[in-house]
């Protein structure tokens, strides 16, 4: 099948409109999902049952059911209980809740990776649990969780296409519309494939940059003269071998 450039030109703007909505929905879902994930991670690790209980319940429900069913529950079932929200809002909420469960697991691992003594010294000096988290644990957790958080965010972007099923006119929906009008699935779906790729690749790229910056700062601190010497020595060895 040859690419009909006319269709790309004619329906490109419609696809781009969908792209814009996808961007907006994803943005708010991340904005809501990451803090929610941190909250759930902390709640799950809490010794207090009234924190841990709800956190575990939400985690269990959202981790063990398909995303599409969660979307349907929020969009089709909640109105029976008098809660009717616009599809876009449901989309943001569903994506945020769904991802927050995975963010929570990542954050939990990240918090657990910070040595116990770090928290103990903060508590021993008089900080509350929350103050210790904010000043000592979270700053040390970020470099650890950054790569998996990026992964989860990219998967959030991909899951957003499911929102087409509840009439959110995001990017996948706009491609379906273009296909319906033109009967040309190739152009419609190749366009959004590229755009999804661009979006996720930009996320991956910025996170890689951020990661490098964090690493540079850390390695500058950690690098001792001995390490420099060892590095020079191994470089010299490589040079000798390749000569």
């Amino acid at each position: 099948m040859d690419l009909d450039i006319g269709i790309v030109i004619e329906y490109g703007p419609l696809i781009l409109k969908g792209f814009r909505l996808t961007l907006i929905i994803v943005f708010f879902a991340i904005l809501l999902g990451i803090p929610l994930g941190i909250l759930m991670a902390v709640g799950r690790m809490s010794s207090k049952p009234y924190f841990r209980g709800p956190a575990v319940a939400v985690l269990e429900i959202f981790r063990n059911t398909p995303f599409m069913i969660q979307v349907f529950l929020l969009y089709y079932v909640l109105p029976f209980y008098g809660l009717r929200m616009p599809a876009e809002v449901v989309g943001v909420l569903a994506l945020a809740l769904y991802s927050s469960v995975y963010y929570a697991e990542i954050m939990r691992a990240g918090i657990a990776a910070v040595p116990r003594g770090q928290v103990e010294s903060a508590r021993a000096i008089g900080m509350s649990h929350v103050q210790a988290l904010r000043n000592v644990v979270f700053p040390q957790m970020w470099p650890i969780v950054l790569p998996p958080v990026a992964n989860q965010t990219m998967s959030l972007v991909k899951e957003s296409s499911i929102l087409a099923t509840i009439t959110v006119s995001e990017m996948t929906m706009s491609a379906l519309i273009v296909q319906g009008i033109t009967f040309r699935p190739f152009e419609a779906f190749i366009m959004i494939t590229i755009l999804y790729w661009v979006l996720n690749e930009s996320i991956a790229f910025s996170v890689r940059r951020l990661e490098k910056r964090l690493q540079r700062r850390h390695s500058r601190q950690a690098t001792t003269k001995a390490q420099d010497a060892a590095m020079a020595e191994s470089l010299e060895a490589v040079r000798r071998m390749t000569r």
């Binding site: 040595p115 003594g117 903060a122 021993a124 008089g126 509350s128 850390h218």
Partner: protein, 259 residues
Amino acid sequence: MSTEHGSLSLRGIEKSFGEIQALRGIDLDVSPGEVVCIIGPSGCGKSTLLRTVNWLEPPDAGRVYINGEQIGETVDANGKTRPSTEREINKFRSQIGMLFQNYNVWPNMSVLENVVRPQIVVLRRSRAEAEEIALPLLDRVGLDDQVDKWPDALSGGQLQRVAIARVLAMDPIVMLLDEPTSSLDPELVGEVLAVLQELAKGGMTMIIVSHELGFAKSVADRIIFMDKGKIVEDGSPEQILYDPQSERLKQFLDMLIHV
């Protein structure tokens, strides 16, 4: 029981972890300015004892008094006792300086920030005020040229001295030191001990869990030998080190000397 500033009293402290009884009724009075060293075989409960004093491990039974004030229980306006709130316990903790074997300096902030941040967060001092307190303290522990460094660039001895400055900035009433030199390279032990010695001379009340018998002998006013969750012997360094009474202490000292 003393209510003087810098006094510490323990009454009937008990603590169990599951089946294991770590502390079986500890009574201890430390007078202001006194330096008490706790020695004993590993697992004897000496670290646990320190950790119950500042409620990192709340004791199952017993009472802790600092300046005659009880930690963990508070007498309210009607004269009734109730368990202390988180906030009250945090306040107590800020008055008890604790040093750890692994220093536990925070790697996500500079040396200066390590000393400044807890003052701002816990004592609500302004940054300017906190820095004014931190800088002379860092000077006192010999780190005046390291204030802007990050912890990763420091040696173990320097890190422990950062931890000492960090604790001193909180104006502690007493200090608890949990094997402050045992993860240091031998050549770095001296610099930390010198700072601690100076603190002891300055009249700081200290309880030190340590294996440095030489240090214990030179700074401690009193040495306590613990075994199986109990205080077995309590006396002057001379008494404990040169004239042990119990069989267990004799064995313990023999073992240390032969190692």
